[in-house]
Symmetry: C2
Subunit: 256 residues, 2 copies
């Protein structure tokens, strides 16, 4: 990656770490909040504050734009676009107080340059540069074992997949078990570092996956729609992420 | 609690912390292990090593017995019985490397004296003394809010409950979401500290719940079978754990 893009990556990592600190401060202030409406307000306020933080940062870079869950609508993929989810896992933010991430990626003319996923409470920063590998806390993540098979792997999906696709139930029963943590970006990077075997989701938005997809692919994972077709992150749709052979098993069992 | 029992509690906490250190050392040695049979062997070996560690400790206390997953069969509840799960969440141990606990409780003539649940990788030790409250890292856990209702709470259950009880699907759809972490004892203490609203499981063993049940009840949670009847931890069966009103909602929606 050329030096100017490397500088943007370093900007991005700094912003994400700073935003994590803001979230931790806001969470430590929530002690006095205990009604439902107050909790929802808290989440909305933090989400907005973090998005505004990034909006201000990106606005300082000439010709760069921001695409975010709460943000302006970007209806093309021309030029440099930062894709942000200020908090992926907002329910976790107010319930478990963990398992939520900040997701940030930079794309150029629709092509991925780098992605950053920050597990705030564990202080684990994942990032990947297209073509140059993925890292956790700046340590290279090894390539996944593409020979892994279903019977020894845990499957991550939401109850929506289980309800909609009875064959997903068959799949899970043939697997080592089912997990659900409640943050798509976090769950995808879990697969990248080998903490689970596959991630299946019927409807993810650009900001949920823009960064995690780069990290997953740089670790050698296959990342497609559930029917095996390629994913344009600027369009919402399904995601199926797994090592090569397991990916094929899942398509065969559930979606063919 | 009288001083001798308090001493046993302190023994138990020390043992659990030491056992956690052993597990961490064994995990750090696993780097070279990469075939399925080796991984399963690793889990079996750590499980046995930890159980043997506790067996040796309990054997030094006169007239105390140990009931454990891998251990001797205890077919009565007379006298002092320690109930142990050396590792609850063995699949997590080898996949995520987190979200597994050591569970240890002491019962006397079938009545609970205290329970300890140790989240090894987060270094979070939960304990409770019957009638005297529950603690996380020796800090008192506040009573749960018994007025919490379904629409604002996350439900923890396994896919088995979802498959067997279509009404559990209705329940989850009315809730704030579904989570599954893969360790019953850990999931129950999550409810105790308010990280989720309810735990539902169709088949738990004495060692899965002996400690977590004490912690849950000392936090004001209602802990029953799914049909609302009381739980004898020496018998395997279902578990439904939630704050009072939510518990009633779940029985009504799913199990009445």
């Amino acid at each position: 990656m050329d030096s100017i893009r490397l500088e943007w990556l370093n900007y991005g990592k700094d912003w994400v770490l700073n935003a994590g600190e803001i979230i931790k401060i806001r969470l430590s202030e929530k002690i006095t909040i205990n009604t439902k409406s107050h909790i929802n307000d808290l989440v909305t306020n933090i989400d907005r504050e973090i998005e505004d933080f990034f909006k201000q940062k990106v606005s300082l870079i000439k010709d760069h734009r921001l695409l975010g869950e709460e943000g302006d609508f970007v209806n093309d993929s021309d030029g440099y676009i930062w894709i942000l989810d200020p908090i992926d896992g907002t329910t976790n933010l107010v319930t478990t107080g963990r398992d939520f991430v900040i997701s940030l990626a930079l794309y150029h003319n629709g092509q991925p340059l780098f992605g950053i996923v920050y597990d705030v409470m564990r202080d684990e920063l994942y990032h990947a540069i297209t073509g140059e590998g993925a890292y956790i806390k700046d340590k290279k993540i090894p390539q996944v074992n593409s020979d892994l098979l279903l019977d020894d792997q845990v499957i991550i999906c939401d109850i929506k997949e289980i309800i909609s696709y009875p064959r997903v139930v068959d799949l899970i029963q043939q697997s080592r078990g089912h997990r659900r943590y409640g943050s798509a970006a976090l769950e995808i990077v879990h697969i990248a570092v080998g903490r689970a075997g596959a991630f299946i989701h019927m409807m993810v938005h650009p900001w949920d996956i823009a960064a995690a997809k780069i990290i997953a692919e740089e670790c050698g994972l296959k990342y497609t729609r559930t029917d095996g077709t390629s994913v344009n992150v600027f369009e919402k749709g399904s995601s199926l992420v797994a090592p090569e052979k397991l990916h094929q098993q899942i398509v065969t069992i559930c979606f063919s």
